[in-house]
Symmetry: C2
Subunit: 231 residues, 2 copies
């Protein structure tokens, strides 16, 4: 029933969760799976690199690459000569891909080797990647790719010129067949293992930034922009 | 000619570099590719999670998972019910996979949107995953998986018992068709862009650990082990 009433906004409200499919229901640890749209978006938006999987000559290939999100669409870009982008442009109706983003949040040390684990959050997207040919969609996607690395940066850089646009391919993957999976919290143990003398607990990973290193040719007095210090 | 002379050591010395193959020579940025064995090992050993790609019903699947390295062999483990592990056990001679590990080291902000990039180090391994059935190899692999998360931990945890071993599948992927790819250093610019007023440089990412969070049921006085404080 969502999105059917005229709300005066320009787009309809998507459902709060993605519909599970055969490919997005895990065979194991189903309690760790989530289809919550906001959670999926937050995990995607926090990552820098996705791992893009495709099939070449019958065998899997997994490559790390930058990505950006615009609403319910993910974008990946690269040289027009790069393999998955070239394959997408040549495939009809597109290239079957799997795009995965993972954050490692902590190391979980149990008293038993068996219950060692990590705390993590991941998103897996299945679908067909399509070549982006519309110039306006391509422009929006490229801005999203830059802003994904540093929010606010796209407005503070020279936009791609005609030659650069021609050298850059962009592919789109819709967020449709999507799931998140996460482990949080402390240690699981077998009841009889609590008496063992081994230290047990979680070692959280910390992520942050070091001091920005300015380009040597930067004009003296060029301040570090606010969107960087805000990180 | 390496590894042919009797050196008195128990194993022969592997070549200093992996041999490139059609799949490990990139179509783009070939100058960023490396086949150096020590570099490959160091990138693999620094990661917590790999992204394992395989083909299911003709479509790619990319899942994050823990891994461990023993010499020139990588190991992945999981429940015997997990899909890629079950598929490996059922496939003859094994399951074609692609295993990728990536570290993001810094955000590269150029004056032009086009030259934005990241500094990264990645390893891509192509090959056939095989089910590990030898009990001794399985034991060594499981220790390597625990020690990969925290070096030294395997000796300070209860080893897997018979029931846990039966519930755990381990697959092996040999380091043979392997490449590293990395970007380091500063900003690339078009000569005419140096006059632009935008800040440019590299924002290094920092990785570290927060204070360990002990399990609530830990016996009072149980010290944080040295292999954790060493991190």
């Amino acid at each position: 029933m969502q999105g059917t009433a005229g709300s005066g906004t320009e787009s309809t409200t998507p459902p709060a969760a993605y519909a599970p499919s055969d490919r997005t229901v895990p065979t194991r640890s189903a309690d760790r799976a989530s289809y919550d749209r906001e959670l999926v978006h937050s995990i995607l938006d926090e990552g820098y690199v996705c791992h893009l999987g495709f099939v070449r000559d019958g065998a899997p290939v997994v490559l790390p690459t930058l990505y950006g999100r615009v609403g319910e669409r993910l974008y990946v870009h690269g040289s027009t000569g790069s393999r998955p982008l070239r394959m997408t442009g040549q495939a009809d109706p597109g290239l079957p891909v799997c795009l995965t983003v993972t954050h490692v949040d902590g190391l979980v040390l149990a008293r038993s080797a068996f219950h060692h684990s990590i705390n993590y959050r991941s998103v897996v997207v299945h679908g067909i990647a399509h070549d982006v040919t519309d110039p306006e969609e391509k422009r929006v996607a490229l801005d999203a790719l830059v802003d994904h690395v540093v929010p606010g940066r796209a407005a503070d850089a020279r936009p791609a010129n005609r030659k650069e646009l021609a050298a850059t391919a962009v592919i789109r993957l819709d967020l449709d067949e999507v799931s998140a999976k996460l482990r949080t919290g402390g240690v699981n143990e077998e009841p009889e293992d609590y008496a063992l003398p081994h230290w047990a607990g979680v070692l959280p990973l910390r992520k942050g930034y070091d001091t920005p290193v300015p380009d040597e040719a930067l004009a003296p007095g060029t301040d570090v922009p606010g969107y960087l210090t805000a990180l």
